[in-house]
């Protein structure tokens, strides 16, 4: 597994010029680049002077509590909010998977996946994407008959079918049950390996972030409060390094755990919701 390490971000030096760090991938530049990006809603500054780069093919997780600005950042990258003339580089092919599947209930599953596609092969492309997420047999059903996990997989297929260079995941596993979530993690990783889009996963689940991402960013009050590069081999299921990263990330999120010991073992509950 190639770890896409493009640049080391300096949180305290937003004014520093963008120094192109040698990339281990052959791609020309980063998939995403934000420079000193600020977003206000009225008097509230949601994103504050934010710098962000995501390398092509890199899997980045964005942690933060509610109101930290992570959804605003994702919406900006998705093109749902205009950049207002600020520096923003994103690939033209990008796709979002939202927290809820947001399938159009009046379109059959394959038509949902093919939404906005042009060309006569739309159904074939939708079929291929749905087969990839294990829903090849549910092409012609109505979305309301899908289970929660199936609907979210269909949403994933709808994003995939566009062959995105940037895949934006907005807490996509938050509303599925724990078992389904584990399967979805594996599915997302395998799809990512096959298609190699840059991924930004917005989540509040620290363990999920560590399990999946190459790099975890912590957003706090519109700024990046810290980041962890995760070089552990996948699959990652616990271990002292995992727990160390987990402790540091939780610390960045403002949750201090007692020093390692029997008590901490007890506290290290597996699903690790950092904040609701």
């Amino acid at each position: 597994m190639a770890q896409a390490v493009l640049h080391a971000r300096e949180p305290a030096a937003p004014a520093a010029p963008a120094t192109p760090t040698p990339s281990p991938r052959r791609t020309a530049g980063p998939a995403v680049r934000l420079r000193a990006f600020t977003r206000r809603f009225g008097d509230t500054v949601v994103l504050h002077d934010l710098d962000l780069e995501i390398a092509a093919g890199e899997f980045v997780a964005l942690l933060g509590r509610s109101g930290s600005g992570k959804t605003t950042l994702l919406r900006t990258l998705a093109g749902l909010d205009p950049p207002d003339g600020q520096e923003l580089v994103t690939p033209s092919r990008r796709a979002v998977v939202f927290q809820d599947p947001r399938l159009l209930p009046w379109k059959r599953v394959w038509r949902n996946v093919a939404l906005g596609l042009t060309g006569t092969d739309a159904r074939d492309r939708a079929r291929a994407a749905l087969t990839e997420v294990g829903l090849g047999h549910r092409l012609d059903v109505w979305p309301t008959t899908l289970s929660g996990g199936e609907a979210q997989r269909a949403a994933l297929a709808r994003a995939l079918v566009r062959e995105p260079e940037l895949l934006l995941l907005d807490e996509p596993f938050a509303s599925v049950d724990a078992l389904t979530r584990i399967r979805m993690h594996d599915l997302v990783l395998s799809l990512w390996r096959t298609h190699r889009p840059a991924v930004l996963l917005v989540t509040h689940d620290v363990d999920e972030a560590i399990t999946l991402a190459d790099r975890v960013l912590v957003l706090d009050a519109g700024r990046i409060a810290g980041e962890e590069r995760i070089a552990l081999p996948r699959p990652r299921d616990g271990g002292p390094e995992f727990l160390g990263i987990r402790r540091r990330l939780l610390g960045l999120l403002g949750l201090e755990l007692p020093p390692p010991g029997p008590v901490a073992e007890l506290l290290a509950f597996p699903s690790g919701e950092a904040c609701a």
Binding site: D100, R102, W106, K107, R108, L115, G116, W142
Partner: protein, 267 residues
């Protein structure tokens, strides 16, 4: 999709018997009515006996009087309804999709809506005379508002999350309207259509009292002049049947157009 146990139970066992029981009281009432007429308790100039009504209906069907006049009434209702639905939809789409449209169209429509459309009858007679035009215009006006209100609400009620998702996949403008907004507003539109149908019937009855020379209203007016209560009752039954079948048509339309709704999906 399985029904909940209570419903499927009643479908199997209790419902048919219940359905059978439900027929008892109407039949008894009709029998009492017939008996009352035969015994002279209900004079025929007050209310004709059921048997007389059936006989009169048969005569009117055989002579062609009933079908031809029914067609005239049906034509009026359908013409008014078609115009009303078209106008109401156009206004609702214009007001629903743009803020400017809403600002321009919604206030006058809301003001006009408060007028009972039948109150405009005298004005329409002055404007359009006493031919077909005022009748159709009244039905148009009466059906336009339920369509407008429901479709406008439906358009504004489409889940913004769905619109946002569609936008994130590059849909905009016409595609967004056709694939997301209008299908999302369709349930509300169909509800409006049912209200409009009911309204068109109501207004038809009154509008046909305006110096009609054909149609069910004309038959009723004539029958009134000759105290033919049997003919009046026949026409009332026809009005009811037409209303019922119109509702059935909309419901069939709903089953087709809203096949995606969980309540319509069969396993």
């Amino acid at each position: 999709m399985s029904l909940n146990p209570a419903v499927s139970l009643s479908n199997k066992g209790a419902f048919p018997t219940l359905r059978g029981q439900r027929w008892v009281s109407p039949v008894v009432l009709i029998l009492l009515w017939e008996a009352g007429s035969r015994l002279g308790l209900i004079p025929s100039h007050i209310l004709a006996a059921p048997s007389a009504v059936i006989g009169d209906a048969w005569d009117m069907i055989v002579s062609g009087e009933l079908p031809s006049n029914m067609l005239v009434s049906l034509g009026r209702a359908m013409a008014g309804l078609a115009l009303g639905v078209t106008l109401g939809s156009a206004l609702a789409i214009a007001a629903g999709l743009t803020r400017a449209g809403e600002n321009a169209l919604d206030p006058p429509v809301q003001m006009l809506r408060t007028l009972p459309s039948l109150a405009l009858t005298p004005l329409f007679i002055v404007w359009f005379g006493i031919g077909e035009t005022p009748k159709i215009a009244l039905i148009t006006l009466g059906t336009m508002f339920p369509i407008y209100l429901n479709l406008f609400n439906g358009i504004r009620g489409v889940d913004p999350k769905l619109i946002e998702a569609a936008r994130s996949f590059g849909l905009q403008g016409w595609d967004l309207i056709v694939h997301v907004i209008l299908p999302g507003a369709l349930p509300s539109f169909l509800l409006g259509l049912r209200f409009a149908l009911a309204g068109s019937w109501l207004i038809l009855v009154v509008a046909e009292q305006i110096n009609a020379s054909a149609g069910l209203g004309y038959l009723i007016n004539n029958a009134r002049d000759f105290s033919r209560t049997d003919t009046i009752v026949v026409c009332l039954i026809v009005y009811a049947l037409l209303g019922l079948s119109a509702d059935a048509i909309v419901r069939a339309l709903e089953r087709r157009a809203l096949a995606w709704r969980p309540s319509f999906i069969k396993s």
